[in-house]
């Protein structure tokens, strides 16, 4: 992974000093609430229902064991003993004291971490494929380009006051595991027929109040031009994006208003001035950053790897876990493993300090001391020897991290919702838990098969409900919490937005609603057909009939 040099270290230390001074001036009364707000937001600090929330950046989701141990220590000393992994591969602390935040940032800086630009109207954390570098379907390892983007976007002076937040995701594989079509900018790294490295540039995707699948603005951008082209996009957006209405300020609205062709023409005209300038990347820079992502010291395959087949045959519970939570790896004898943060009774994405330390130990013992955060809010050990899987499973299970549910209904993606977030219209965590409890039978859960359930507590869509096979959105109706259900959303290169099925429901109804949707699927599915594929084949009507069929309309608002 990327290791800080003297430049990175100095920059982050200076940011800590700057924020310490800003916090001191605020606490001394020299900075007003209004003047402090944009400063704290650009450093990941929100004021929440109970306390400030500090969002720590995990660049493109990659963490070292030492960094995770530090997060555990901070959780213990400054929070209530846990942290929450987000759908943008970051980590949130929900209970720090404002006055302690500069000290927390200093502790983060010691391990090469920060909270720069994790909120506010600026370029946010760069995200990518959580299987980067190990996925068999990968054409280009996106990590070096992601790190180059991280550096370029960090404290970029021109784009510190954008109309709205700006999210960039990057992928280099045949399958899109980074929701690139639903970001302000999505980038697909690939090689053309001549073997040259380039990027497909997608602009104007996003979720939120106005969900849109992004548009291809450039089919193949030579990689050396990545930063100049992005500067052109950002400059057009910074100058012409709407600033009069918070809900119409994202770049997707500008692209829609201008039309894709006119937007592209503006970007290309701007880029014409920038192309070839000093922001153009060089072979030397790519080589410098790529050297940080060299493959680890993989061992050659050995006879011991054969043991896995016997272990799987001998232990059905292990086999069930391996079937869901273990993934293909490009290197013979290795697999990637997902540690599930979706155990029933625990808020999705939450991890205690003790569990963080266990995961750090597991990463060191089994996966070269590194791990990744997925945008589905789980943790990945990317480089595990096949012969270690049984040992890893036993240890993960003892720590409550081996629920065999990756990609299944109980692997719920969920924002913190109304229990924590001051933006939320409705609670999301209790709904997630009630549904998980309804589907606690593992045989039934596995029979249902792949099903993405996403829950957002408000239109800001942090739970990515628009791309859930089943999406749940918390809405406020006259002060009461209701839940709107959509079907047929999907992530990946064929990303689709879900469609709302009808009137919304009360929280207590939600497990039954999901049961009926699943029942309709089971009654109609073809062999090996996923839930979402059945939805697309037969349409929403049978699902509506299954849910609303019995004259219950009276209770719906």
């Amino acid at each position: 992974m990327y290791r800080y040099d003297a430049v990175d270290t100095a920059l982050v230390a200076q940011r800590v000093a700057q924020f310490r001074d800003q916090t001191r001036r605020y606490l001394d009364g020299d900075l007003s609430e209004d003047d402090f707000r944009p400063l704290r937001l650009q450093n990941g600090l929100y004021i929440q229902r109970h306390a400030p929330m500090l969002r720590v950046a995990i660049p493109y989701g990659i963490l070292s064991a030492a960094q995770l141990r530090r997060l555990a220590r901070i959780a213990r000393e400054h929070d209530r003993g846990y942290g929450h992994f987000t759908t943008r591969q970051n980590l949130q602390f929900n209970w720090p004291a404002l006055a302690a935040v500069p000290a927390i940032l200093a502790e983060l800086a010691e391990v090469g971490m920060h909270a720069i630009q994790t909120s506010g109207n600026c370029i946010r954390n760069i995200t990518t494929d959580h299987f980067a570098g190990v996925a068999p379907d990968e054409a280009v390892d996106p990590r070096a380009l992601a790190e180059i983007l991280r550096q370029w976007s960090t404290l970029h002076p021109e784009f510190a006051g954008l109309p709205r937040k700006f999210k960039i995701a990057l992928s280099g594989a045949a399958s899109d595991r980074a929701a690139t079509l639903l970001h302000d900018i999505g980038l697909h790294a690939a090689r053309n027929g001549a073997g040259e490295l380039g990027l497909r540039v997608i602009v104007g995707g996003g979720m939120g109040r106005t969900p849109v699948v992004g548009h291809v603005v450039r089919e193949f951008l030579p990689w050396r031009d990545m930063l100049t082209y992005l500067e052109a996009i950002l400059r057009v957006y910074n100058r012409h994006g709407r600033r009069d209405n918070l809900y119409k300020a994202r770049i997707k609205i500008l692209v829609k208003a201008l039309g894709v062709e006119a937007f592209r023409a503006q970007v290309e005209a701007e880029w014409g001035h920038l192309r070839g300038n000093e922001s153009t990347l060089t072979d030397a820079e790519l080589a410098r950053v790529s050297s940080h992502f060299a493959p680890p010291a993989y061992e050659p395959p050995s006879d011991e790897d054969q043991a896995l087949a016997f272990q799987l045959a001998g232990d059905p519970a292990f086999a069930r876990w391996a079937g869901r939570n273990v993934h293909a790896h490009r290197r013979p004898g290795y697999r990637a493993v997902t540690l599930s943060l979706k155990r029933t009774g625990v808020p999705p994405g939450d991890l205690t300090a003790a569990q963080m330390e266990t995961v750090a130990d597991l990463a060191e013992r089994f996966s070269f001391g590194e791990l990744r955060v997925s945008h589905e809010q789980n943790l990945i050990l990317a480089d595990v020897r096949e012969r270690d899987l049984l040992d890893l499973w036993r240890r993960a299970r003892a720590a409550g991290l081996a629920t065999p549910n990756i990609g299944l209904l109980t692997d719920v993606v969920c924002c913190p919702g109304g229990d924590f977030c001051s933006l939320a219209n409705a609670k999301s965590l209790p709904v997630a838990e009630a549904i998980q409890r309804r589907f606690d039978d593992l045989d039934y859960l596995h029979d249902i098969g792949e099903l993405d359930l996403n829950i957002s507590g408000c239109m800001n869509s942090c739970g990515h409900h628009h791309i859930g096979h089943i999406g749940i959105l918390g809405v406020d109706k006259n002060g009461a919490e209701w839940y709107q259900v959509s079907l047929g959303g999907e992530q990946g290169l064929g990303a689709r937005l879900g469609q709302v099925i009808g009137p919304s429901f009360r929280a207590a109804e939600m497990p039954e609603v999901i049961s009926r949707l699943v029942g309709t699927y089971l009654a109609h599915r073809h062999e090996d057909e996923r839930f979402v594929d059945t939805v697309h084949r037969i349409g929403l009507s049978p699902f509506r009939a299954g849910v609303y069929g019995e004259a219950r309309e009276a209770v719906h608002a």
Binding site: V7, L11, G161, N238, R239
Partner: protein, 178 residues
């Protein structure tokens, strides 16, 4: 007390007269005071000939939505360009400054005015501003340390600073344009 401006890392008394037509005053007819005078673009465009005929230094003030290209042909005649920040969060002026310096080659004083506070100064300077009038009531002397907040930069900008010798030294492009 005269207006204070931060320029070249020092706090100075401002010698410029800032024309700000009041409600009801027409840009075409508003009286132009004598001496070094900066006027809004809305006054500059209709009164350009009259202003250029004066023997005293001239400046233009741009609002965030004003395209800097509109004054590009006159930049050699201007000693001051002010860019107004009506709100801290409105970052359009950063791009205006970058364009004036890099695209249009403006070399005179480039001043940030309006809702400008200490914590924007580092980024403003990187985008090409070299003069700053803080929000009324803010202490410019207490803000001077902001220019030293960072010694490193991760990206090139209009101040000519960039990531330095981190593998980009081999770049053979044309550095002065943008």
């Amino acid at each position: 007390m005269p207006r204070q401006v931060i320029r070249d890392g020092q706090v100075r008394d401002d010698t410029w007269e800032m024309l700000d037509p009041r409600e009801g005053e027409s840009p075409e007819t508003v009286p132009l005071p004598a001496g070094p005078l900066a006027v809004p673009l809305a006054v500059w465009e209709p009164r350009r000939e009259e202003l250029l005929a004066r023997a005293t230094p001239l400046g233009v003030r741009l609002e965030p939505g004003d395209d800097p290209a509109r004054i590009a042909p006159d930049l050699a005649r201007l000693a001051l360009v002010c860019i107004h920040f009506p709100r801290i969060a409105d970052g359009r002026g950063y791009s205006s400054a970058w364009l004036l310096r890099r695209r249009h080659g403006y070399a005179g004083e480039l001043r940030a005015v309006g809702e400008v506070l200490r914590d924007q100064l580092f980024h403003l300077a990187r985008c090409g501003f070299d003069a700053f009038v803080l929000r009324e009531g803010a202490d410019p002397r207490a803000a001077l340390s902001a220019f030293a907040d960072f010694t490193e930069a991760y990206q090139w900008s209009a101040d000519g600073r960039g990531p330095g010798l981190r593998g980009r030294e081999a770049h053979a492009g044309e550095p002065a344009r943008g």
